[in-house]
Symmetry: C2
Subunit: 278 residues, 2 copies
Amino acid sequence: MKIGIVGLGLIGGSLGFDFRALGHYVLGISRRPSTCEVAQAKGAVDQASSDLSLLATADVIFICTPLEAIEATVKQLIPHIRDTTMLTDVGSVKASVVQKISPLWPRFIGGHPMAGKEATGIEVAQANLFAQKPYVLTPTANTSERVTATITALVADLDADVHQCDPAAHDRAVAWISHLPKMASAGLIAACLSEPEPALLALAQTFASSGFRDTSRVGGGNPELGWMMAKYNRQEVLRTLSAYRQAMDEVTTLIEESDWDALEALFVQTQQARAKFL
Amino acid sequence: MKIGIVGLGLIGGSLGFDFRALGHYVLGISRRPSTCEVAQAKGAVDQASSDLSLLATADVIFICTPLEAIEATVKQLIPHIRDTTMLTDVGSVKASVVQKISPLWPRFIGGHPMAGKEATGIEVAQANLFAQKPYVLTPTANTSERVTATITALVADLDADVHQCDPAAHDRAVAWISHLPKMASAGLIAACLSEPEPALLALAQTFASSGFRDTSRVGGGNPELGWMMAKYNRQEVLRTLSAYRQAMDEVTTLIEESDWDALEALFVQTQQARAKFL
């Protein structure tokens, strides 16, 4: 199969490695010629170009740009591709993307591979990034079964853990386990920076160990991803932030009231509940 | 040197492995005879007993009980040990411990190895747990130089990254990078559990990937450690929770106001700041 990939960053580049290894012919697009060169030199793509006409003969195209650029990219792409070409994206929000792209291109299905890293860009793209990670597809009542079946099969070949749900359910679920953690983790770093004594902040930085490293990882990750999650999933993110405020207020109240039995019960509950998310 | 360890859990057992490897003779104490047997069988101690009189000839004793039990343990220990024996503890809060133990035993210095795991108990104790991790000692004006020098040398032999500071500064610093992360991470799990639709909660659990795993790790860890941090470092923990509330309110306000430039600036700041904690 001829697979096009628009946007050769961590996700696009990593898809390229896997699809080439599976025997597909991979055509990559990046606005920056230097990224095209790196992608080709690393072996993430067979051919790369900044010109969308490279995708004229693609069977399937993965739009791997940031969320903010998906709609414009598809509009620019349409004049260059065949009617039979199937499109999918990898954005971390689905309802707004599906709503905008479906009317533009009937052979579209939204997708979201839940595989991340702190670093971004073609330099950190790698083989097997998606193996054993959730990869969500969001067909709607209007998605053709052939598109769903083709993209599902392609994505399953990445050894990903493929799931299907409707776009709105996806957005509500990821608000809890991806977007809220990003906000909570960034807020943690921001709070630490509010320490007024520089010597104390320096001591805190020196003492930070694995607990801080893990809790702050996503908050210290890609800034672009953070504000785009919030922009494109605003309502669900605000809903989870409100629930989080209540949960943190409860923790604070228990400590203010020195109610150690209730605080321990809360930690026992979170310990038990976490296992169900892993 | 004869080294006593009271409390054969993750920390006590791991200290035992390392001190034995360094050629010391390790005497272990646990209330539970079964733990004594496991510790001996695993090679974490040379001898183990539930009877504190085993420590009559110890040169140095590490109190590795939970924070809540440190004072009572020292009081029970005193009738059994020599005047020259040096004591230290491994509690994650220092001011309240140092304040209580120093009057009971002049040859005491507070300590805090910042090496954790999700799991607890002798079963997960391991060699080299402290290597390249911060190990904080908190001498005061009243701590004898000989005690400080002896314990510092012992702990440095664990390949730990040894630091000294006063107990209050320790408690303020760890509130930021250890205690607040515990509360923020547990609050995240608790907030997710507030999702009213069971099908949505199940979907969130299915989609949870590395971001949720890392951000929730400490919040899903040892419940006892959580409430004891809060109890024994109550004032500092409440101070950081208040700062955290402000930080999260700021994030929320930026999203409510759709101020994406400011939200991106905040994420850029947290991304840059995190590197200084690692």
